[in-house]
Amino acid sequence: MDAALIPPGVKRCDFKIFLGWILFLLAIIGWGAYAVFLVWYKALNQTNMNNYFGFGIWITLDLSVIALGGGAFFTAFLRYILGIDKLKNIISLATIVGWICYASALLVLGLDVGQPLRGWHIFWYANVHSMLTEVAFCITTYFIVLCIEVLPIVLENVQLAKNRFIHLFSHNLHEYMYVFAAVGVFLSFFHQGSLGGMYGVLHTRPFAYRTGFFIWPWTFFIFILSAIASGPALTLLVTWILQKVTGRRLVTKDVILLLAKITGSILCFYLIVKFIDTWYWATHILPEKGMTLKECYQGWFGPYGLWLLFAELGVFGIIPAIILITPRFRENEWLLAVGCLFDCVGIIINRFVFTVQTLAIPTYPFDKWVVYSPSWQEWASTIMIIAIGALVISLAYRYLPLFPQEPELNP
């Protein structure tokens, strides 16, 4: 039925099955859209955030998707700047995934601010001292760059490409892609870092506060590292899922292993830095603020207990690092998937503790722990955003030639 749109040389599932899947996603999105409507119409009381938890699941999602969207800029960096040509086989997917992540982030921000009609104040009345201003500027410009990067991929659609102008345009765009990649890398470095900086500068929140270099706290650099360490993992994970779901081979193993190796190495490096950082924080920064490590965690197994630290750095840190760095492990398809998944989860936990746990820790000696759990509206809109991501990937996979190797791998 939609055969005319499907890229030549590849096979796609029956349109009815695809339609069913799309409708399923649309149903989820509809549910989320209702939640979004409620939030915009009735204001933020629809969430379970409160005066202690100004940041909730949305900001966690926001930071997570931006970190995980780091795959786009880093793969682009490897491909266009460092010239690792092999990665051209996966760069389209990485770019699409990145674009989805950043689009989601902007959507979430539109939900999360109390007065969306005034959202532009952040640009017009920008406070240059605020890390959030830096984030807003960089994310927005980087999103534009990502759109430009995505554009040629979209224009490669078989029907669009028939247009001579479009064809030439996308071809030319491809030629200059390294320029955009370079700009993108620069912008990404800054906002990934600034997101970390947002929390690192909070000398009033000892849990997040870090000293650092010039105007940047260490979290600035750690966040960049963690984004690089997890973004490609998400790209790999999506590739793996696509291969499993469609039952087709999309990328040659050497490409995947190469990316996994790079990711693994960076993850190891990140973990080393993160361990040093955590040690310094626990032994120097906290005492200076009159706090102890114990005060920063709600016991061992409380909602904000020490288990979070072990989960983040141990289960979802060291384990994926070992899997990805060890050739024997990463060559196993399933272990590789687990490694990538754990890597992503570790980063999500990291972002979660920085956004939510930072706020949960009592600041006053006499104050109590307060626990936050999202309302259904927050869950629904969050799930909606993930569903939109799935929708975009499904459409992109079906109608765009994302994987140049696909025809030859599936004769």
Binding site: A43, L44, S130, L132, H203, T211, I215, P365, F366
Partner: protein
């Protein structure tokens, strides 16, 4: 590296001194603040973390078992820090620190990102989760000197800045550009029936506050965070000082010496 706000005060620097030993926790200050500043009320205000309160009274206990238990009350508004993290982080410049020491909050500028709330360890900043509501008919009693806030913005204690504006207008008509002690005080300080709250210009050597802040029993909340609050507390009870601050022993020693 510290993110220090380079704050320079002018000839006026307003501070508040709260004597915890005198505070009976009656709440007159809270009500006076609410009436003065047009705080909204909802029918169910029992979820305190969703309430719009500029001034709250914390009840702290010495943690000892019955019958040795003691309690004390700590009224807490905005600290108007000299190193205000909230001002530093606000992306839309909706808040600043002026030369008389007041940290402002401009409601029509704020777009509700709540970063300032995350930055404030005192929980002085509150968010308008709802459109503000006033019991039917009581809108007639709204104070025109203070604008009401719309949903989705952050608000906080302003040290009753409109009272400063009012006092200043009167003084300017008389050709003065400075205020006398007591011409500008906050609604809470004025209402306090036990006189626990004192407010004034700490740079005026004759003001009451300039003497009170020198008390060996004076301290500020969370001093270790380096925020340099403009609200001082006084208590002669050691346990109160210890509970109210991330207390450090050097200070305890200093007091015991005196």
């Amino acid at each position: 590296m510290k993110h220090e706000h380079k704050y320079k005060s002018g000839p006026e620097k307003y501070v508040m001194v709260i004597d915890i030993d005198k505070c009976t926790g009656c709440g007159a200050c809270v009500i006076a603040c609410a009436v003065e500043n047009n705080l909204p009320v909802r029918t169910d205000e029992t979820r305190k973390l969703l309430s719009v309160d500029w001034l709250v009274i914390y009840k702290i206990t010495n943690g000892k078992p019955f019958p040795k238990t003691r309690i004390a009350y700590i009224p807490r508004g905005c600290m108007h820090c000299d190193n205000p993290m909230c001002v530093h982080v606000c992306p839309a410049s909706a808040t600043d620190k002026d030369d008389k020491g007041v940290v402002s909050q401009i409601y029509p500028r704020c777009f509700g990102c709540r970063y300032c709330m995350a930055a404030c360890p005192y929980h002085a900043r509150v968010f308008n989760w709802w459109d503000p509501t006033f019991p039917k008919g009581t809108e007639r009693g709204l104070n025109p000197d203070v604008s009401t806030r719309m949903r989705g913005v952050v608000e906080k204690c302003s040290f009753c800045n409109h009272r400063y504006q009012r006092a200043k207008e009167k003084a300017m008509l008389e050709g003065r550009t400075t205020l006398r002690d007591g011409e500008y005080i906050t609604a809470c300080a004025e209402a306090c029936p036990t006189g626990a709250i004192t407010f004034g210009n700490v740079k005026d050597p004759n003001s009451k506050v300039s003497k009170l802040v020198k008390s060996p029993y004076a301290f500020r909340l969370l001093e270790k965070f380096g925020t340099e609050p403009s609200v001082y507390y006084i208590s002669r009870q050691e346990w109160v000082r210890r509970e109210a601050d991330r207390y450090f022993e050097e200070k305890a020693k200093k007091i015991s010496k005196e």
